[in-house]
């Protein structure tokens, strides 16, 4: 039973029912809780249902609501059995338990529940509204200040305390309401409404048991309410109807009094003064009581601290006592226990020794390996460094040798250069001459090409003109020949033309031949020059002289031979 109750209460809390922590079984359920729970279950099963989950205060509406709930239970949840408005209003525990069990079975699965949560939770709803507002404002584009339609608020939120008006007698009530300035009317209404709502909730948290206790608790609550909201009152309500007490004029000394006062006034004034004195006394008492209360609360706090200290001491002492008791219990059989403990001690010592041995056994090889690996690593690094060092030293030596040889070569060459005679005919001189010669050759080449091109172009011209001449001659020849058959003058023209043609062609021929001849002359002159250069004449003479000599010697030899032969 208790478990099912616990499960039911837990599921109802999950849906969003406001169930107190004290309520642990269905026996503690009030009709409000029952109706709220049932309606919330139905709404979560079937979101289309529009049911009010708060009980309306009057009976006919309550009956209506319960009938609707019963109908909905039968239709939606398929509750089989008798169900009427009385089950919810005055039902027994078993019936209510059945109803909840069936409804909870029909509840949708867990992923659908959070939606109901977010609707039911006022804090989340407000946060959702705030978030939507913030998002909307973030997406609004910036407008300059003068185009902003909603400028700041014009009226401060000042309110007056209307609840004072509630408790006064009826006649003054409406006057008070109309005496509230219109600027403060709406804030005052809002404030009173909210404080009434808060008072309702505060009242609701106390389990209101039916019966005679109702009135007493309400009376008990109202001073609590006033003390709870007194600070709120001070913050929110701006009391404008506290009339300032005008400072009383000092009482005129009687012997200076002018016109005789009426008899009624002094008594009223005396009463006022008496009441003032009484009020001051009461205020002083109130202050004293408040101080006493503060002192008392301080003392209470101190005593609580002391109690806590004492409790901790007590715990310590209790532990000590337990220990002593145990020891005491062991006393009667002391030697056996002693012996047992000694043996235990020794066995523990042996165990420790054995464990240490094992540990050292395991530790040693691992340690050795560790050291070995460390050394290996160190060695490998050291060897690498050594090899690198040697390489660098060798390369250094080589480089130094090369440097020395090159320096020696430099010195030798320098001495050589210094020893050589300094002549004008330096390399530069030769190179410059070569360069100039090359440039000259290039120029001459170009000139030759130019000349050749000129010659070619002239030759082309000659050819073209020759061709032209021949063509014109043939054309005119034909024309005039045709005409010459008939005309005498034309025959003469024809004759002239032919003579002209022959003469011109002779001239052409002669010019060509002259040109050829001049070329031949040039060639021959060149040949003559080369021959002259050979300087043959003295060589010929010499050859002639030699030839003469040889002939003479030949003659002489022949004569000898002849003479020798004759003999």
């Amino acid at each position: 039973m208790e478990e099912t109750d616990g499960i039911i209460i837990e599921t109802l809390r999950k849906i969003g029912c406001d169930i107190e922590d004290d309520v642990t079984s269905i026996a503690h359920f009030t009709t409000e809780i029952v109706i709220e729970g049932v309606v919330k279950c139905l709404v979560s099963i079937h979101p289309d249902l529009q049911l009010n989950h708060r009980m309306p205060p009057n009976l006919p509406a309550r009956y209506k609501l319960c009938m609707e709930i019963a109908k909905a239970c039968k239709e939606v949840a398929g509750y089989k059995g008798d169900l009427g408005y009385e089950t919810f209003l005055h039902g027994s525990q078993a019936e209510i338990r059945n109803v909840f069990a069936i409804l909870i079975q029909k509840l949708p699965k867990v992923n659908e529940q959070p939606i109901a949560d977010s609707i039911m939770d006022p804090f989340a709803c407000t946060m959702g509204k705030i978030q939507n507002d913030i998002l909307r404002q973030l997406h609004q584009p910036w407008l300059p200040y003068f185009s902003n339609p909603s400028s700041g608020n014009s009226f401060p939120f000042h309110s007056t305390d209307l609840s004072k008006a509630v408790n006064t007698s009826g006649r003054h009530h409406l006057l008070k309401l109309s005496s509230v300035p219109t600027i403060q009317l709406i804030p005052s209404l809002i404030e009173t409404h909210i404080s009434e709502l808060a008072a309702d909730k505060y009242q609701y948290k106390f389990p209101i048991k039916k019966g005679s206790n109702f009135k007493r608790e309400q009376e008990f609550l109202s001073p609590a309410q006033s003390s709870r909201f007194s600070l709120v009152r001070l913050l929110n309500f701006t009391d404008i109807d506290k009339k300032k007490k005008k400072p009383q004029p000092p009482p005129k000394p009687s012997h200076l009094g002018g016109a005789p006062k009426t008899e009624g006034l002094p008594t009223i004034e005396e009463q006022c003064q008496k009441l003032n004195i009484v009020m001051e006394n009461l205020e002083r008492d109130l202050q004293l009581r408040q101080e006493e209360l503060a002192d008392a609360t301080e003392e209470v706090a101190n005593l609580k601290c002391i109690i806590q200290c004492k409790e901790t001491e007590q715990d310590a002492l209790r532990n000590e006592l337990d220990r002593q008791e145990k020891l005491h219990a062991l006393l009667p059989d002391a030697p056996a226990h002693l012996h047992r403990m000694k043996s235990l001690l020794e066995s523990n010592k042996e165990k420790i020794a054995a464990l240490e041995e094992q540990w050292s056994k395991i530790k040693k090889p691992l340690d050795d390996e560790y050291q070995r690996c460390l050394q290996l690593q160190e060695n490998s690094i050291a060897e690498k460094f050594k090899a690198e060092l040697e390489n660098t030293v060798l390369s250094l030596r080589q480089v130094v040798k090369e440097i020395r040889t090159k320096e020696d070569a430099i010195e030798k060459l320098q001495t050589h250069i210094e020893s050589m005679p300094s002549s004008v005919l330096t390399r530069t001189f030769y190179t410059q001459r070569i360069l100039s010669i090359v440039a000259n050759v290039k120029k001459q080449n170009e000139e030759m090409h130019r000349v050749l091109e000129d010659v070619k172009s002239v030759q082309r011209e000659i050819n073209s003109i020759q061709g032209k001449v021949e063509r014109t001659f043939t054309v005119t020849d034909e024309i005039i020949f045709r005409v010459a058959k008939s005309d005498e003058a034309a025959r003469r023209i024809y004759k002239f033309l032919i003579s002209l043609q022959t003469d011109c062609s002779d001239i052409q021929r002669l010019v060509k031949e002259s040109g050829n001849l001049s070329r031949e002359i040039k060639d021959l002159e060149e040949q003559a020059e080369t021959e002259l250069r050979r300087n043959i004449v003295p060589k010929l003479r010499q050859l002639q002289i030699d030839l003469e000599q040889i002939r003479q010697e030949n003659r002489i030899m022949e004569e000898r031979v002849n003479s020798g032969g004759k003999l």
Binding site: S118, P122, Q131, L138, P156, L174, I186, H193
Partner: protein, 223 residues
């Protein structure tokens, strides 16, 4: 997003509104009409300091309402105006309003009368409600100037840059300048703080709410 459940009325208001339909101490349609009209009109008007237009005094004098008595009139007036203020501020839809009114067991004519008057005046009442509240002065414009300080009498020759910033604030139509100096680093710090504020606003807007009641404590801490 507004749900029926957050349109809460205190028990006093509820009992007063219920009593409107009660047969014994009930209010006739005419009286109801007068009260409703006065309530809505007075709530829809922008309040002024002109006391001569106080509608409640006129209610008192009104003859057809005489038999109700001033206390009852004021009770009904306060309860109805609280109801209407709550309805307007929650931006309740007409269907929700009707269903709420039905729970008070009112006759359909009264419901129709109230709905008509309310719907006519709803936007005006909401505009009037928006006027209430306090607002600190708003930032409207910024002027800045970059100075180069060569020398001061207190510290001698200092060569430093200094921003002089003038914020123009608008408060109830009145412009007020707020001038201050800041070094470059301080200005950067200010800008970064403002950027942090923007980021935290964005974070709040995108925060996923914890949906269990335990989650509410956590979101409280985040805030």
């Amino acid at each position: 997003m507004v749900d029926n459940t957050f349109f809460e009325l205190s028990s006093i208001v509820q009992s007063n509104l219920l009593s409107l339909s009660d047969n014994k101490t009930g209010v006739s349609l005419e009286e109801f009409g007068i009260i409703i009209d006065t309530v809505c009109n007075s709530l829809a008007k922008i309040p002024s300091t002109d006391e001569s237009q106080n509608a409640i005094k006129q209610l008192e004098v009104n003859k057809p309402l005489g038999k109700l008595g001033p206390q009852r009139i004021s009770e009904l007036y306060t309860s109805l105006s609280k109801f209407i203020i709550q309805a307007a501020s929650q931006n309740i839809s007409s269907s929700q309003l009707e269903s709420k009114l039905k729970t008070f067991n009112w006759s359909s004519e009264k419901i129709d009368r109230l709905m008509k008057v309310f719907l006519v005046n709803q936007s005006k009442i909401q505009a009037v409600l928006r006027l209430y509240g306090s607002s600190p002065p708003k930032l409207v414009d910024v002027n800045w100037r970059l100075d180069y300080r060569l020398e001061t009498n207190t510290r001698g020759p200092v060569h430093e840059l200094m921003y002089i910033i003038e914020l123009l604030l608008e408060d109830k139509g009145r412009r007020e300048p707020l001038t201050f100096t800041a070094s470059h680093a301080e200005l950067e710090d200010l800008v970064n703080t403002l950027k942090d504020a923007c980021h935290s606003v964005k974070r709040v807007a995108l925060l996923k709410l914890g949906l269990q009641k335990k989650g509410n404590k956590l979101t409280h801490e985040v805030q």
